[in-house]
Amino acid sequence: MIINHPLLGPRDSQEFIYLGDANLIERPDWQAANAVETFHDYLYLRDNPAGEHRELWYHEQGDRSWLVVTRNTVTHEISKVELARDVARSKGRSK
């Protein structure tokens, strides 16, 4: 596969390491009353769609950027690639 890196352009997916569902960015609040449940859902449960999937790839053999790739799990077509750091900020994550 070829991932169109937002900074570097098309790169072979062999340079990347796959992590999984981009929801892993949204780490829950550790002080919430039901933190164990929310962390369980966060870490263990997946939508796992047959179709568009937002997922985390790490450019380990490249620039070490974590990317959020929107890819169709049936056709493998990639429709969007973003820097995970930007996505994290857009979801309100900061310090």
Binding site: M1, I17, A35, L43, W66, A84, R89
Partner: protein, 1007 residues
């Protein structure tokens, strides 16, 4: 014009005529794309023959009058070539000998070279007499799937009797069982347009794209370019197809933007326009040139791919349609026109289309006698110069090891015997849709040519031209090739003008579907290699295996080395008839990569044997090698395991010496392989505070702290020490095994979880050579290395201190007062290039203390004596609590893994806890991987109390010591248990003790 002398860069092979008699080549004709002036000697089944450059093994054997080349898989039927290409199911041989022996090589694509050796296969004792041909007599018992219904009794007989017999009978060729001596390589190519196939469509496309200046790769699986153009006699413009092809190739070869790749098979279309291709660099040579690979696996990144793979002719099954001498009509034509060879002096043709008639015409022109043309079509033009039987079919054939004649049923119903030594069969042509299916695309039915053509769901960026689209005329192929290139480049914003094209034939093939000859009780072969007959398909239908997938799997139709290229259609047609459905309604079988079989070694390339993965060497590697160190693999690293000295005959002697010398004086160990990560930034402390379970915010500058890193699920991920060199600067270490994973994890935390923390990280593992100096005399030794300006006394540089210093007269270095061994110890780091110099200097400085350099074994012994957890304990299923570090998991802050480590299942009273063990009988050794069973309890899983993770012989204590996880371990000190090891039928009584066997209070560390 002879292309053999035209292809740029292609070795001709061959030797000057040896004066060997040509008379052997009884079926050799004149002309063609072979170099008659040169003779090549080769051997088949021990007999010597002659051929010419440009021959394949099959064409040369046919020219020599040899039709019998192999045996079928199941019935061991005598077989000759069916085709002239890579779709060949029958003529498989063992090519070459010794370690280069190559099973199942298709004689039809094996390029002849001088000294070629080939043996027939899957026969015993000989090709002409094969004992297992008895299977053919028993065929009525060996129908499709018979083995699913028997061989079940008695139970034990399957492995002992039935299966060994089946296995010996099955299989085709054999491996030499020796290591392949050849080199293989891999590579990566980039282009605007990849053109697959160099027939009329491919060449027209290449000329169009090449002249437009696009970056073009033209891949041709054959060793000659031109496809059917060099196998046909019809004119292109003023000259022959071969002439036009040669001229086109000459023009393309002169274009710097065009890469011609003969002997290159495109094997698969993968995601996002990436294709795989195999270039056979040296298969046409006796032995590859020095340093040159046998084959190269190319990964081609082309913006567009144009598939010009042509079409594959299909046979018409009839009773005994598999005898040597029965070929596809187009193949006979190719052998005659391109290879100047004929499978027989008297040939008959059996066709349902006009293309079959061409073969007759060409043979007649070449002076080969055509006994008759049997044409299933009652109407249509009559061919001159031979007997043209309309509305007739071939219903049987004769000849045990080769065709001697056929039985024909005329339109009138009467039958006629016709003597012939070869029969050309044409059932029409199937567009070669193989690559269009590699991303699960499904071909669609085209009634006009009664065949499947590429569907709409092609791999993205792929388009198709020429016969592969179903347009079987040469003029159509030329035009669609040119148009295909223009369209493909247009999609890339490159304007191209279609190459002007020569006049070419545009005769329709006029195929009228005729799938198999129904007459007769005997067997009509559909899949010739796997011996699947019309009867087998009927039986599958009768037993309910009616979907294409069930049909294939039950009968093995299309599962042979040709993957059904010549057989799937007939199988489908028969099933369609039985289910009275149309062929498309019955289904289509899609193709999977690779297009043709690829040697496993080719996929591995250079990454084989000792080059499987790179080797990482430590800074002291050269010195250690000089000392005769024994090295051990630690991931990709090679580390010194121990350093044998004169007179030491057993590794234990060396390791015990290294341990004792370290504990009693001083030892040096290269610990560079531990991961080092430089962590900087105003938020660096806060960052570490979150990635480690224990607090880091308040670590003072100039101090080191042990850190335990958890995964989010609460399991221990890694541990190490972190030194604070400045307010905003830390150096953290990881275990050797987890260095990469921890770095990746930190980047995830930094970029995805806390994107605004001011923290920057970079690996410095390789930048610094780091050595542990441990033992009572460690300080004394180091004081001779560290420059006088730096006070490393216990007061000035206490346990867990760190600092930047200089050594050996001004070299910048780092010093850490940390200890893995439990001794007074330091780790000292210098820039890697000086690591070799430093260890030599330290060894010199250590002489007066009888210092040693110790390896990973001694390191392991000392960490076990000290009770430090390592890889065997951090196995991905152990929590801080299991490791006895529950107290380190701060509840006052958010850290990765802290929340989920609170789950009930991880905190039950009886969870495993890390403790120490020693044998009750001190002379007994402990064994890692033993399980703990209470004394008196039965050794069963139900009574399993835990397991031993690490053991060592402690030369200090004089007995074996072990670490392990024990249920409620913390509360069981002093208890006696059995460490059972049923694998070796042994067990040892052990005493549960503290994991800290040496200096539990840590006085030595702080000395």
């Amino acid at each position: 014009m002879n292309q053999m002398n035209r292809i740029n860069g292609q070795p001709l092979g061959g030797t000057e005529a040896t004066g060997a008699p040509r008379s052997g080549q009884a079926n050799r004709l004149s002309g063609g794309q072979i170099d008659h002036a040169k003779t090549l000697n080769f051997r088949f089944d021990g007999k010597t023959f002659q051929g010419h450059p440009g021959d394949t093994l099959a064409s040369a054997l046919l020219a020599n009058g040899v039709r019998l080349m192999g045996r079928s898989f199941k019935y061991h039927r005598p077989r000759g070539p069916l085709t002239s290409g890579s779709e060949e199911p029958n003529a498989l041989v063992e090519l070459r000998s010794g370690a280069r022996q190559e099973p199942n090589t298709r004689a039809t694509v094996a390029e002849l070279f001088d000294g070629l050796e080939a043996m027939s296969q899957n026969r015993w004792p000989s090709l002409s007499f094969d004992a297992l041909a008895i299977n053919d007599r028993l065929s009525t018992f060996l129908t499709a799937g018979f083995y699913y219904k028997t061989f079940m009794w008695p139970k034990a007989f399957w492995e002992k009797l039935y299966e060994p017999i089946i296995r010996r009978a099955a299989g085709l060729g054999s491996l030499s069982m020796e290591t392949d001596p050849d080199l293989y390589d891999k590579g990566f190519l980039h282009a605007d347009l990849l053109i697959v196939g160099s027939g009329p469509a491919g060449l027209a496309a290449a000329l169009t794209a090449g002249r437009a200046g696009a970056q073009v790769i033209l891949a041709e699986e054959d060793f000659l370019f031109g496809g059917r153009l060099i196998a046909e006699t019809y004119r292109l413009g003023s000259g022959s197809g071969a002439d036009w092809a040669a001229a086109a190739i000459a023009e393309l070869a002169a274009m710097p933007n065009v890469r011609l790749m003969p002997r290159t098979t495109v094997i698969g279309a993968f995601d996002h326009g990436i294709t795989g291709a195999v270039e056979r660099v040296s298969d046409h040579l006796a032995v590859p040139a020095a340093g040159k690979p046998r084959q190269i696996l190319w990964r081609i990144y082309a913006k567009r791919t144009l598939l010009c793979a042509g079409a594959i002719e299909r046979p018409i099954p009839f009773e005994n349609n598999d005898r040597p001498g029965i070929l596809l009509a187009g193949a006979i034509r190719a052998y005659a026109n391109r290879w100047a060879a004929t499978p027989g002096k008297t040939v008959a043709i059996f066709t349902n289309n006009d293309d079959g008639l061409r073969t007759a015409t060409d043979l007649i022109d070449k002076g080969v006698s055509v006994a008759a043309v049997i044409d299933t079509r009652p109407e249509g033009k009559t061919l001159a110069g031979t007997t043209h039987l309309k509305g007739a079919t071939v219903i049987d054939s004769a000849g045990r090891l080769g065709l001697t004649g056929i039985t024909v049923r005329l339109g009138t119903g009467e039958t006629r015997q016709i003597a012939c030594t070869a029969l050309g069969v044409s059932g029409g042509w199937n567009p070669n849709v193989h690559l269009t299916c590699h991303q699960r695309g499904r071909p669609v039915w085209d009634a006009k040519i009664a065949a499947f053509v590429p569907g709409a769901d092609l791999p993205p960026s792929m388009s198709v031209a020429g016969a592969a689209t179903g347009d079987l005329t040469t003029s159509g192929a030329l035009a669609s090739g040119a148009a295909g290139a223009v369209a493909a480049l247009d999609a890339l914003g490159i304007t191209a003008r279609a190459a002007e094209l020569p006049e070419a034939e545009d005769a329709p093939v006029n195929v009228t579907p005729f799938w198999y000859v129904k007459h007769g009780k005997g067997r009509a072969w559909i899949d010739q290699q796997n011996d699947v007959t019309v009867k087998d398909v009927k039986l599958a239908h009768q037993e309910g295996y009616r979907s294409v997938e069930h049909l294939k799997r039950y009968t093995t139709l299309g599962m042979a080395t040709d993957q059904g290229k010549t057989s799937n259609m007939a199988g489908l047609a028969v099933m369609a008839e039985l289910t009275s459905k149309s062929i498309p309604a019955t289904g289509t079988t899609i193709f999977r990569p690779p297009y043709t079989p690829v040697p496993i070694a080719t996929f591995a390339g250079r990454s084989a044997g000792k080059d499987f993965r790179p080797v990482r060497q430590t800074p002291s590697h050269k010195w250690a090698a000089e000392q005769g160190a024994v090295f051990v693999e630690v991931g990709m690293w090679k580390r010194a395991q121990w350093f044998p000295r004169q007179g030491e005959t057993h590794w234990r002697q060396s390791v015990d010496r290294e341990v004792l010398a370290t504990r009693n004086s001083v030892g040096i160990c290269d610990v560079t392989t531990l991961g080092k990560i430089d962590v900087q930034g105003t938020d660096a402390a806060e960052f570490l505070n979150r990635v480690y379970a224990n607090p880091f915010a308040k670590l003072a500058v100039g101090k080191v702290r042990y850190g335990l890193m958890l995964r989010e699920d609460g399991m221990a991920m890694d541990d190490g020490t972190t030194a604070r060199l400045a307010e905003d600067h830390f150096v953290t270490t990881t275990t050797t095994a987890n260095a990469v994973g921890v770095y990746r994890h930190m980047e995830f935390c930094r970029q995805c979880l806390w994107p605004d923390l001011d923290v920057q990280i970079i690996s410095t593992t390789e930048a610094w050579a780091q050595f542990s100096v441990a033992g009572p005399n460690a300080r004394k030794l180091l004081q001779k290395i560290v420059d006088p300006g730096h006070d490393i006394s216990n007061e000035a540089f206490p346990y867990m201190g760190c600092g930047e210093i200089t050594v050996c007269g001004g070299l910048r270095a780092r010093l850490f007062r940390i200890s893995f061994s439990g001794e007074l110890a330091y780790e000292i780091a210098v820039p890697t290039r000086y690591g070799d110099g430093l260890i030599r200097a330290m060894v010199e400085a250590g002489k007066q203390y009888d210092s040693v350099v110790y390896g990973t074994e001694a390191l392991g012994v000392m960490r076990i004596e000290k009770g430090h957890a390592a890889g065997n304990e951090l196995n991905g299923t152990t929590t801080a609590r299991n490791l006895g570090m529950a107290g380190m998991v701060s509840k006052k802050k958010d850290a990765i893994g802290s929340t989920l480590s609170e789950r009930e299942g991880l905190n039950r009273d009886d969870v495993l806890a890390l403790v120490g063990f020693r044998p009750v009988d001190r002379s007994r050794p402990l064994v890692a991987g033993s399980h703990f069973i209470n004394v008196g309890a039965e050794a069963t899983a139900a009574n399993d109390q835990g397991y031993m993770t690490s053991v060592a012989f402690s030369p200090n204590l004089g007995h074996s010591v072990g670490l392990g996880f024990l249920k409620s371990g913390g509360a069981r000190k002093g208890e006696t248990l059995r460490a059972v090891n049923p694998l070796n039928n042994e067990e040892v009584e052990v005493e549960v003790v503290s994991a800290h066997f040496i200096d539990p209070e840590g006085d030595r560390l702080r000395a």
